[in-house]
Amino acid sequence: SQTIHQWPATLVQPVGSPLSLECTVEGTSNPNLYWYRQAAGRGLQLLFYSVGIGQISSEVPQNLSASRPQDRQFILSSKKLLLSDSGFYLCAWSVSGDVQETQYFGPGTRLLVL
């Protein structure tokens, strides 16, 4: 069966520091991968998605970037964190090729920028 991991689970970082959040998927090959941010009372906002190694699409221009160095690894990064980057970050995966793909979510990373 497929599983998705995210780490760290919680992170407290000062403003201006760099960020690296990691997501890995097991039990499937060539998944589509997603990064979402969840803010209280605002649902989920899609930040990036990837259909393959090195292929990243950005949905919202911002202070963050994403990379996919391996088939089942997705990384969310920032060079300098802002206070507004605080939130709950969720990684998700789906089986590529379906007419409408079903997304499965990881446990999330809570980021607090101080």
Partner: protein
């Protein structure tokens, strides 16, 4: 414009009572609809989905949802709520192969 509306931000029910969570969508094409549940501090778990066919969809944990095209709705129901159902529930519509639009969520509180 494409959108998903969950009009109830908070709902409180007693344990054993029935539950209905509302979801309305705006989308011009055939909708693909999802309900997810999120426990505090956790990721989202898929409860059920509707792609086509029978408009009454059964999911996990005793939940079901009914797609009503005429009302642009996909309401989630459970006949008897358990204390462990306390969580936040999100409705979503698939608007392309990769993309979802999520509602802002309904937080469910269950009274003992």
């Amino acid at each position: 414009a494409q959108s998903v509306t969950q009009p109830d931000i908070h709902i409180t029910v007693s344990e054993g009572a029935s539950l209905e969570l509302r979801c309305n969508y705006s989308y011009g094409a055939t909708p693909y609809l999802f309900w997810y549940v999120q426990s505090p501090g956790q990721g989202l778990q898929l409860l059920l989905k509707y792609f086509s066919g029978d408009t009454l969809v059964q999911g996990i944990k005793g939940f079901e949802a009914e797609f009503k095209r005429s009302q642009s709705s996909f309401n989630l129901r459970k006949p008897s709520v358990h204390w462990s159902d306390a969580a936040e529930y999100f409705c979503a519509v698939g608007v392309g192969t990769y993309k979802y639009i999520f509602g802002t969520g309904t937080r469910l509180k269950v009274l003992a």
